[in-house]
């Protein structure tokens, strides 16, 4: 393949924000993810669904190399963000994680004030030159996360004292504050009640304008509500990927159909 890539291919490559090619993940001897190929579109929400233990969270964590913190975990294949291989030795995983933010299953605000929770990332990466700029980042992040009105008068109170839903939106605001391009969400609503869930979902829908969002969820309704594209994982294999409507109304694979109709999982 010495010739130049065709215009068609080049266009395709610029279009997808994240592109994974033959990704394998091993936990020691256990082959957790097998041959996953996926293209994730920019400025859209992609959801990963599948039964427990199917590898969707594991795959999500390969996208910002969070698996590096686990000693026995090994990743093969290539994952490119903006056409750059993130597993290239030249890439600093710490820098990568500033670009690819993450929101976790359980809200995990630091035991600091609301202000310091948001300011944590910008301070580490030196995003603000002075206090005024930092104040701006904090307020705009909280505004984008739809939390500003609720907390603007109590920024110096501890983040751990908020309700579960507020804490999760605080964590989203914290991720936004380092101006990432991609936000990964690992079952962000599984610890929240329906009303808090609705707020977070609304927020995800708004964030789509500026960020590429990948969300792992156990709730098929949630996937249907918030995402444009859906990927179905089963036993470490990416079974099917496509437009959310197509996956839910017209699945091509028997396993996908069984899962979304509630026959297993």
């Amino acid at each position: 393949m010495n010739e130049m890539p065709s215009i068609e291919q080049a266009k395709d490559m610029t279009e997808s924000k994240i592109s994974a090619n033959k990704v394998q993940v091993f936990y020691g001897e256990n082959h957790a993810i097998k041959d996953v190929d996926i293209e994730i579109q920019p400025r859209s929400v992609t959801s990963f669904i599948g039964p427990s233990g199917c590898g969707k969270s594991t795959f999500l964590r390969t996208i910002n190399r969070m698996n590096d913190t686990i000693d026995i975990c090994r990743v093969e294949g290539s994952i490119k963000i903006d056409n750059e291989d993130i597993y290239d030795p030249k890439v600093d995983p710490v820098q990568l994680r500033a670009k690819v933010g993450m929101v976790f299953q359980k809200p995990n605000p630091f035991p600091k004030s609301i202000y310091d929770n948001i300011a944590y990332g910008p301070r580490i990466h030196g995003l603000a030159r002075n206090k005024a700029e930092l104040d701006d980042i904090v307020s705009s992040s909280l505004q984008k996360a739809g939390l500003w009105e609720e907390v603007k008068n109590r920024l110096d109170e501890p983040g751990t004292g908020m309700s579960g839903g507020q804490q999760q939106r605080l964590c989203i605001a914290r991720a936004i504050a380092v101006s990432p391009e991609v936000i990964l969400m690992d079952e962000p609503c599984s610890a929240l009640d329906p009303i808090a869930t609705a707020k977070v979902e609304e927020l995800i829908d708004e964030l789509r304008e500026n960020y590429t969002i990948v969300i792992v969820t156990h709730s098929m309704q949630q996937a249907a509500r918030v995402s444009q594209r859906t990927a179905f994982f089963h036993l470490g294999v990416l079974v099917e990927e496509g437009l959310t409507e197509d996956i839910f109304t017209n699945p091509k694979d028997k396993r996908t159909q069984d899962y979304i109709t509630g026959r297993f999982g």
């Binding site: 910002n64 969070m66 913190t69 000693d71 710490v94 820098q95 990568l96 994680r97 500033a98 670009k99 933010g101 993450m102 929101v103 976790f104 359980k106 995990n108 605000p109 630091f110 035991p111 600091k112 944590y120 990332g121 580490i124 990466h125 751990t160 964590c171 914290r174 991720a175 380092v178």
Partner: protein
């Protein structure tokens, strides 16, 4: 009957009771296990429990009470006239006891017959001579009242022991009969055993607590005695420590401040050594070390905690002291006079405290939820940023608690300072001078040959009490902080 046999007999009754109880329960249910309320072994345990517990309780109470009773009887037998000038009733009773033991041993070795030993009209000179022949030590000449009292003492003790044996065995048997009588299929042996277990556990816990109270009380009474002989204000605010052992210590100056200063100075040096090293070691072990390194390094570090403090003291005296002297002594900087100094004791004590700080901090750092680390790494923080800005602040209250516990260990430490810090009580800022601590002085006040009723000896209790109050305060603050921290993540 020797105590050993008595205990064996009670245990044998319990064992027989266990077997009987079990089989009686089985037969009352007609051999049908499902008809029993509890498993057969519970019926057996119920019987054994009711044999052992009351019998042993009685035994313990009897053993504690009998000497009191015998002493009071003996004490009444001794007329005022036979107590010599300058002696006391207590000394005479001790003499009686020694004579009685001499008679016992003489009979046991065959030097005199039982009748001779208990003959009230025996010739005193003959008894004394025979006792001496039998190799028994009798200090002064045995007098008639002492011999009579000693004979009475022997009789009281031996009958007491016999009655005790009989009563204890009767109680054990009664317990067995009582428990066997109530054994039938409906009897809720399981619940009764459960209650018994609870009672035994409560008893164990109360013994520990009562002992603490006992220790405190013994300190309080002696401290009180000391303050009657020596003014409290001079003790707490005096700047000089110079006990004088002559003339019942009346010219002593017993100010605690130089000792407290030495204690705190050495403790501070120790903490300055132990806290950073221990904390960094804990951070390395819990955050950076691979599981393999951790599995080896953590136990190795904790070996330090198992070294007896006297060995640390030798290390201070023989290695660290001379080493420091060669650098700071007359051949070096010239600010250190001798190997024993605040610095020597402080450094070695710091080494002793490293595993204490590191293992407590390690536990506390591990208790910080993984979600905190994930959150920080997920924002692009490095390991040291995460440790510094998220983990340590979250673990801080617990670490402060660990440091306070280490501080109270340092304040109460004795052997290292006895060997490493010197014996001079002085108020000085130079860490290369010899100083001494409260604990070291308690040792030297009580190991001398001072009269036990003089302020010079009694001051040890006041020192101990002061130390106890300080470390108790530190421990309470530390536990309060640690507990408050625990609530944060539960």
């Amino acid at each position: 009957m020797p105590l050993f046999w008595l205990i064996l007999i009670v245990l044998a009754i319990a064992a027989v009771g266990y077997v009987l109880g079990r089989s009686r329960a089985m037969s009352s249910a007609g051999g049908e296990l499902s008809a029993l309320h509890s498993l057969p072994s519970y019926y057996g345990t119920n019987v054994a429990m009711k044999v052992v517990v009351p019998a042993f309780l009685l035994l313990i109470v009897w053993l504690l009470a009998q000497p009191f009773y015998v002493n009071s009887v003996i004490s009444g037998m001794i007329p005022e006239t036979s107590i010599e000038e300058g002696s006391s009733r207590g000394l005479v009773i001790a003499e009686v006891r020694r004579a009685a033991r001499g008679l016992d041993n003489a009979v046991a070795s065959g030097a005199m017959t039982e009748e001779f030993a208990s003959n009230a009209r025996a010739d005193i000179a003959d008894v004394s001579a025979r006792l001496k022949d039998a190799g028994q030590i009798v200090t002064t000449q045995i007098t008639q009242p002492i011999l009579l009292a000693a004979q009475r003492y022997r009789v009281l003790n031996s009958t007491g022991n016999w009655i005790m044996s009989v009563v204890v065995i009767l109680v054990a048997l009664f317990g067995a009969f009582w428990a066997l009588r109530e054994t039938n299929a409906e009897f809720r042996a399981r619940n009764v055993v459960e209650k018994g277990v609870k009672a035994i556990l409560i008893a164990a816990a109360s013994i520990a607590i009562l002992t603490t109270i006992g220790i405190v009380l013994s300190l309080v009474f002696n401290t009180w005695e000391f303050f009657r002989l020596y003014p409290a204000s001079d003790f707490f605010f005096g700047l000089t420590w110079s006990p004088s052992f002559s003339g019942r210590g009346s010219s002593s100056q017993l100010g605690i401040l130089p000792l407290l200063w030495g204690t705190f100075y050495i403790s501070i040096v120790a903490l300055v050594v132990a806290v950073p090293i221990g904390l960094f070691a804990a951070v390395y072990l819990s955050e950076y070390a691979s599981p393999k390194v951790r599995a080896v390094a953590k136990p190795l570090l904790e070996v330090l905690a198992g070294i007896p403090t006297i060995v640390y003291g030798l290390f201070a005296l023989l290695t660290v002291g001379p080493l420091l002297l060669s650098v700071f002594g007359n051949e070096g900087l010239g600010i250190m006079q001798a190997g024993t100094a605040v610095m020597t004791a402080g450094l070695v004590m710091g080494i002793m405290l490293i595993p204490f700080v590191s293992s407590l901090s390690d536990d506390i750092i591990n208790a910080v939820p993984q979600a905190m680390r994930d959150g920080s790494y997920g924002l692009g923080a490095t390991k040291s940023e995460t440790v510094r800005q998220v983990i340590l602040p979250a673990a801080l209250p617990g670490i402060v608690g660990a440091i306070l516990l280490a501080a109270s260990r340092a304040i109460g430490e004795t052997m290292i300072v006895v060997l490493g810090a010197g014996a001079a009580a002085r108020l000085s800022l130079n860490p290369f001078e010899a100083m001494t601590t409260v604990t070291a002085k308690i040792v030297s006040q009580l190991t001398g040959d001072a009269d036990f009723a003089s302020p010079v000896a009694l001051v040890a209790f006041a020192l101990g009490m002061t130390l106890f109050v300080i470390t108790l305060g530190l421990n309470i603050v530390a536990l309060y902080i640690v507990r408050k921290y625990r609530e944060q993540y539960d």
